[in-house]
């Protein structure tokens, strides 16, 4: 047990204990699953969504595209992302100029300017 225990200043990690907890929670999850509705059947009419009589739209149309995910997050941080967009011009000259600027800054700091 001890050679596997990774001690950190405020805690520890041990795979055996983790496995035990995994089994425990797996059991709990199984019990919850068993307590589910027994009358449920796959591939019958009861799994069809009821859209008040209208028939279901094509799945490809209602699929959530990647660019729609986290729309709100990106909308909230629009200014920040505007800055980033202006940083990321895919222009090789800017890559080199950033390098020159960082070299200047880091060297000045190391010499002790700041």
């Amino acid at each position: 047990m001890n050679p596997m225990t990774l001690r950190t200043p405020s805690g520890y990690w041990n795979p055996i204990i983790w496995v035990i907890f995994l089994i425990l929670f797996g059991l709990v999850a199984y019990l919850i699953y068993k307590a589910g509705n027994p009358k449920y059947r796959r591939d019958t009419d009861q799994v069809k969504p009821f859209l008040s009589g209208n028939l279901e739209t094509d799945k490809e149309k209602i699929q959530v595209r990647a660019s729609d995910i986290y729309w709100g997050f990106i909308e909230a941080l629009k200014e920040y992302y505007g800055v980033l967009e202006r940083m990321h011009t895919g222009d090789i000259r800017d890559y080199i100029l950033w390098f020159v600027g960082m070299a200047a800054i880091i060297t000045v700091i190391l010499i002790g300017g700041i």
């Binding site: 967009e85 990321h88 011009t89 895919g90 222009d91 090789i92 000259r93 080199i96 100029l97 020159v100």
Partner: protein, 120 residues
Amino acid sequence: MNSVLVNLPFIVVAILLAIGFYTIGFKRNLIKIIIGVEILEGAVNMFIVALGYVKGGYAPIYTQAPSGAIENMVLPTPQALTLTSIVIGVAVTALMLAFAVNIYKTYGTLDVSKVRRLRG
């Protein structure tokens, strides 16, 4: 001031490096940017060779050398390093030009402000 005069070759190297970085940073043509990289390489090679110079030194080769050569030869290591880095520079240039040919084929231009489909 005296150190400036004594170290004139090193000053020249510094100026060449600045010119090279300017060329890479502000020219639009890809070929000119490759030339800028070449200028950097030339500057660094000049710097290494200049480091090896000894006042009034002879080439470090014994074959039919002048009589005074043995006690005053220039340092051989910088010349060896320069040889290596020159060949490396040739290799890098060849590959960059090959990529430039490809880019001109597919983009139809060598203007680096247009050659940026990859960004963001």
